[in-house]
Amino acid sequence: MASKTININLKIWRQKNANSKGSMETYKLDNVSTDSSFLEMLDQLNEQLVNERKEPIAFDHDCREGICGMCSLYINGEAHGPDRAVTTCQLHMRKFKDGETIYVEPWRAKAFPVIKDLVVDRSAFDRIQQAGGFVSVNTSGRTMDANAIPIGKAEADKAFEAATCIGCGACVASCKNASAMLFVSAKVSQLALLPQGQVEAQQRVLNMVKQMDEEGFGNCTNTGACAVECPKEISLENIARMNREYLKAMVAAE
């Protein structure tokens, strides 16, 4: 690992709480290792702020392995920053130049209100999930044997790919309409592709879309920005699949 350090300028959104008006503030940070992750850079900045007895910047994060979906950040005009197929925690400072000015903002969407600084409230995603993102099977341990229903590898793989969504919200953040279609369709697709999910497929898609609409997300106009910025490379095929599923359900619904 070729270790190098850079000096950067940061313009970061600061907002005391949900009700206050925020603004972009400027910071300067020196000696950032290019091997650092973006969040490690923010740690370093926060350490500097604490040492200056200023309030550090609040941002969401947990696993720092690109899997929990907790980290967010709109960096230099893109969700999860300029690199592709990574979350902010996996974005590394080697993607930035010495002397560069980096803009850091929270996800912006009516359905994702800012809580503080860079932290937003994504509970809308949970509520969509609660509306139907499951197979209604109780835990008994007496379900049929796991190998009772063979599932073609191709279908299983597709279901898996859809299921890798981490619920980070980058799709919403990068969509000009703040639409949640990629997220919702990933879950709908995963379950629609598996025989276990098919029993409730119609009701599921109707309920999840209804909840999605109620949360105040925008409408999909197929710009495709979501799939480009999605750290898990969830495919637009899933949106099409959800459109099909919904159409089917709409026609057949009683």
Partner: protein, 670 residues
Amino acid sequence: MSILDSKIPEGHISKKWTDYKDHLRLVAPNNRPKIDIIVVGTGLAGASAAASLGEMGYNVKAFCFQDSPRRAHSIAAQGGINAAKNYQNDGDSIYRLFYDTIKGGDYRAREANVHRLAEVSGNIIDQCVAQGVPFAREYGGLLDNRSFGGTQVQRTFYAAGQTGQQLLLGAYSAISRQIGLGNVQMYNRHEMLDLVKVDGKARGIIARNLITGEIERHSAHAVILCTGGYGNVYFLSTNAMGSNVTAAWKAHKRGAYFANPCYVQIHPTCIPVHGTNQSKLTLMSESLRNSGRIWVPKKKEDAEAIRAGKLKPTQIAEEDRDYYLERRYPAFGNLVPRDVASRAAKERCDAGFGIEANDTMEGVYLDFSSEIQAKGKQTAYASGNHNPSEEEIIQLGKKWVEEKYGNLFQMYEKITDENPYETPMKIYPAVHYTMGGVWVDYNLQSTIPGCFVAGEANFSDHGANRLGASALMQGLADGYFVLPYTVSDYLAGDIRTGKISTDSPEFEEAENNVRDMISKFLNNNGSKSVDHFHKRLGHIMWNKVGMGRNAQGLTEAISEIAALREEFYKEVYVPGDANELNPELEKALRVADFMELGQLMARDALQRNESCGGHFREEYQDAEGETLRDDENFNFVGAWEYKGMDINQSELHKEVLNYEYIKIAARNYK
């Protein structure tokens, strides 16, 4: 010293659980809505427990500090989950899984618990598939398996390198359904800061709403802690940044014994440390050891040249490579258990063969070129090409590897900027999992009645070393298949209790405690950040309570941490207010508990004058550097009772382990 009652039921090991279950008390469906249960944590253990209890009709309140239950640290598990399904017909069975787990744990786990775990393992897979968890499949449509360390069968179910994610999302979907139905009330971004005991029983918690800072009282008839492991006491670990010991530690302080704190798993395959600002370490799944071969140069000068950047690993000839695991452990080769693999890496690096050019020169290679060759050839043959060119082989081989481990390879490349398809991965051991935890009996109940502990937070199933792919199994077994029975049995006595009031003096006292602690931190006029202290704590822990321990180092660690703790309370600066989102405050509260835990870990390690599993005392090793267990004197679970701020006052209780069904033997992977 008292004898702990583990409440292991009578009978033959294979019948214990079934018979016991049949005789547990039940709560009738109409009574369940009158009973409140608090579940802290929504990882595999917590989400599955909350969902199952919610399905049964109890009134469940679930808590997690993340913004959604789906983000619990279980999400990060990569490699897989074990189950004795014997789908591969390679001789697997419940007994063999039971045996492997006991042996893997270096004969320091409780037989009855482990057998139960092996018994329900198959049900877990059935349950998850029914929920729509997309496990990897073979072309015929049936479930695929891989091997993990410490076993000679293929019993690990997986979903690429994201098994934990898929399992957790399954459990999350189950809990989401119950939230939608109103059976589970979810409290996201809430952190439990104390356990409340009323009349000796766990009756609630004090939690801080992390957004508003509000201190809330929540009461229940039982409290279940599923709050994960405490690896972050080392600062650098593969755990998520928020993983902490606070919930478990608060229970400990309220009377729950803490068992085997010194048993820490150091995982052999993690990406080496890159610099001082590093915030965490990244695991490269154990499953990679199915396909990768671990080596360092045979010659020291080659290692030096590599560190100096003068040689590339691909330039080292085959005969100049030391595949030290294959050399030392021919039977298991690269698939020896984690503790063994980690120590072997440390041994090579200590001897000067490390290849990483960082401050510590620690690092070994995990090389996929042999596998790429082998699988490339296989794939070519399978597709009817019996005369593939070298290029075709390599291309097909890489494709095969990508299919199996694509996300891990990508993650490695993003972090290190090196392409692991072309050059071997650099890896080094890192803190990963904690076998120790809150002591629980067979019912998963701690020494506080009504306080149950499940998942990584308890100590129960893995002895001194956990085998890969067994934590996920344990979390789901506890939550789906054990707690619903044992908690019901406990609650059967509570159907007439009625709602627990939160106005009692006990709640008052606990809340005031929390408030005091918070205001103490916020009003402290220190100058150093929380991380500053956490890093220093981690340093002491890694150097003296890490992969190799000795009496002197441990004694030093105890007093060094004591001093650090004092300095921490004096010098720490926590900015911000109590009544707002305040990550620094959250960290301070957690680090305070880590300090105490760190000391206890050192004490426990000092007490255990033997080497076993993840606990390696340098004084106790054989001529070849293998662990020397002392079954005569240390065949027990060390459960600590809290006796106040001075950890030296904590009292050790022993639960002696009886091996009735497995002959205790030296662990041999040669």
